[in-house]
Subunit: 302 residues, 2 copies
Amino acid sequence: MARTIERLAIVGLGLIGSSIARAVKAKLPGVAVTGHDVSAAVRGEAQALGLCDRIAADPAEAVAGADLVIFAVPVGGMADAARAVAPGLRADAIISDVGSSKAGVGAALREALPGHLVIPAHPVAGTENSGPAAGFASLFDGRWCIVTPPADAPAGAVAALEAFWSALGARVETMDAAHHDMVLAVTSHLPHLIAYTIVGTASELEEVTESEVIKYSAGGFRDFTRIAASDPVMWRDVFLANRDAVLATLQRFNEDLTVLQQAIRRGDGDKLEDWFTRTRAIRRSIIEQGQDDAAPDFGRKH
Amino acid sequence: MARTIERLAIVGLGLIGSSIARAVKAKLPGVAVTGHDVSAAVRGEAQALGLCDRIAADPAEAVAGADLVIFAVPVGGMADAARAVAPGLRADAIISDVGSSKAGVGAALREALPGHLVIPAHPVAGTENSGPAAGFASLFDGRWCIVTPPADAPAGAVAALEAFWSALGARVETMDAAHHDMVLAVTSHLPHLIAYTIVGTASELEEVTESEVIKYSAGGFRDFTRIAASDPVMWRDVFLANRDAVLATLQRFNEDLTVLQQAIRRGDGDKLEDWFTRTRAIRRSIIEQGQDDAAPDFGRKH
């Protein structure tokens, strides 16, 4: 039988943690939410924003009595955050998280909390902004949340976590943690790495000034700057945690880039046109499946 | 003394050409506009949309009497389009274009139209859509238009072209054609190449299906699909025309990507965090200078 979540603890009140708090308040008003953040400044901000029913300065106190504890901290900080709350955990609490890599995070949480039930999850949603003020209740609407339960997880607990994310507006999918990490390496980590790279490259050329790059960014460059403005610590941790899958997809990207580079050098217009024609179809599918706006230019105001 | 534009001919009625027609109708109602497109289907669509005062099937007839002729065709098609209109050109007409590479296009237009005054220009604006229905009058508002006059261009003609683009809402800058091509290689061509590459890579992996890539694209990938949905022929021509600058900036990008790849492999978190922190500032500047929306996630609806 599916358990019901009545008391939620959120550890980490940045963009995602604060969005969960807001979404619970809006869509699951019966659930009591306690929030904690390691930073006193963030706790103060969360308090002022009225994000949670209660903000606890002490991590163990924050999770006391909670039947669901969600860690919403950079993936490299999961183990420390888990050890800090351990003394306060209910024995039967569901332990989950929102990290962008799953195999490593699951292992870290299980090691930090032996005997506890860990069911990692990842809402594939976000913006380039950070901190408790950046969150909003509709962040998860229509986005996918990937749950990666271990093989021996009790079905009732998995169902409760899935129902929780569905209630927040997400569509839920389950998969193996290793497969999640490969999928996200392609759909999220590699794009961030490429965006960070090109924005860095453009800002350090001798021939073109940074001020020119900014001025003429509407030619395409500005699209990359959005995700290259994402939280540096969060992304540092993602690349370290999902290293193997990221390096594997990066190798494939490099091969393809070399092929196109050679086509440009040789003046092989047919190869370029053929490639560019195929990529058009992907965007059409993304829009059809509701994963992006159909409006031109992302719906930017003109 | 600056000349005044009274009769405009637009050759090529796609996204940019049709946006010029619309912007002139909205902001320079005194200017008579004749449009031409090599495609009968596009001419019919332009006629139905009422884009121009007159649509001419014959290219030479389209430019007859025009004091400004703007070629808005893929850069590889400029020379043919110019030869086609040549018999109808006024001797003192200003010949311009909107192509994304300038040194090659300027040379091609001058060679095709000996004795005529050619002043290339490039409005740094667009969307991922194509065709006459995709244009809109406000496309150039607040965007930069780069004019690359040859050293011997009469000041009055240059001023007239600049005034024309200002009147359409653009901010105007002049620079040397070779420098333009280097600037745009960084701010537009390399980003398109990278986006085309990664979208192709993601759609052909064995480990992750195309349907998974589409489903979980909100993690960052979808940002790249917008410009990778741009017109394939236009972009084929841009890479062939601006080959040297594109390959030079691509080499710099590859160096930087290798550095970050090595940092990931070695687990050098400090290097990653330092890099990711620097790139944040660039986006802030782009927003401050009005070249992108401040709204999170490009202002996408949530």
